[in-house]
Symmetry: C2
Subunit: 192 residues, 2 copies
């Protein structure tokens, strides 16, 4: 088994998952998610089918890869906001930081959001992460504002904020130019 | 085939889908969605497995049955609002009307919302209906306010409103008493 199709003997190769995602998301965005197969992705990315499946078990995994990095930036920012900052300002700042994607992730993020928007059935893949983030917002606001997580106002505001920020990101992917953080910031100002 | 297990010969029986849903949603809510099988539902509802599957192809279908009726009430209300009413007031009124469930649907609605909340993976079943409703809100507001459906403000507000209303319904199912429409109305006042 020393000469597999994807790795000539004696020439180990490291495959960059980000590069593979970008190729896949470009294809999904341009040709339609359902019209592109894992084989198409492997061919376009220049990797074997086996290597592709090792990195991404299915097409949906190729789509949702970047959500965790957004969530990590958002969470880190929220933890580091000054303790005396009003919760609404802290959330707006954390969303702006979360939505500040590294330069080399902007294009893939745009394709990703467009593909998710065009295929509502994909949304369930990220549903657990999204609802986990919303629950964290509820806990953050409740803690900072001295109310319980069962408070109606906190719950409704957190869900509205999360949905508004997500809609702003999608709007940017469809209509916006440049980077998305300014659009997200404008959106949250609307909901303040 | 005149004597099937569920229908003795000469005694045709009409099965009420609403009654079956209520039995199923009580079980899902009390014992956990994953712990209850279609066989359990059939036995508790006193119908045959075959009759149950004819009405509901799977457990998720038992959960999402009532969403369409909410959406129909909401849409009907929106169509009937006076043409000169500001869009935000029309939406608030339509949500209040949509959330006014008939007396005999209140208990099943509470169980339904609790089951969906406890099982985020179920959310994708209703995702298409929910995102369809949100798109309709965008069109309604754009039309009434004289802007395009590509407007950032309209898009963000519509998503925030839909998410806030949905969060209010879920809050009612977990913590509220009586009927849900007052809770939804309070939530939308927060976002106005």
């Amino acid at each position: 088994m020393s000469t597999t199709s994807d790795r000539p003997a004696g020439r180990p190769r490291t495959i960059d998952p980000d590069a593979v995602s970008l190729v896949a998301l470009r294809l999904f965005d341009e040709q339609g998610f359902d019209a592109v197969s894992m084989d198409d992705v492997a061919a376009a990315a220049g990797v074997s089918r086996r290597s592709l499946f090792r990195l991404f078990p299915n097409k949906a995994a190729l789509v949702w890869g970047g959500l965790d990095e957004f969530a990590e930036r958002f969470r880190g920012a929220l933890r580091n906001r000054p303790a005396d900052e009003p919760s609404s300002e802290a959330l707006r700042a954390a969303y702006r930081i979360g939505a500040t994607f590294p330069d080399d992730a902007v294009e893939v993020t745009r394709h990703r959001l467009r593909v998710i928007r065009a295929n509502p059935s994909l949304e369930h893949v990220g549903a657990a992460t999204v609802s986990g983030l919303t629950d964290e917002i509820v806990r953050f606001v409740a803690d900072r504002d001295g109310v319980t997580t069962d408070d109606l106002t906190v719950t409704v505001r957190a869900h509205a904020l999360a949905a508004g920020a997500s809609a702003a990101l999608t709007w940017w992917a469809l209509h916006g130019e440049g980077h998305p953080e300014a659009v997200v910031d404008r959106a949250l100002a609307l909901l303040a």
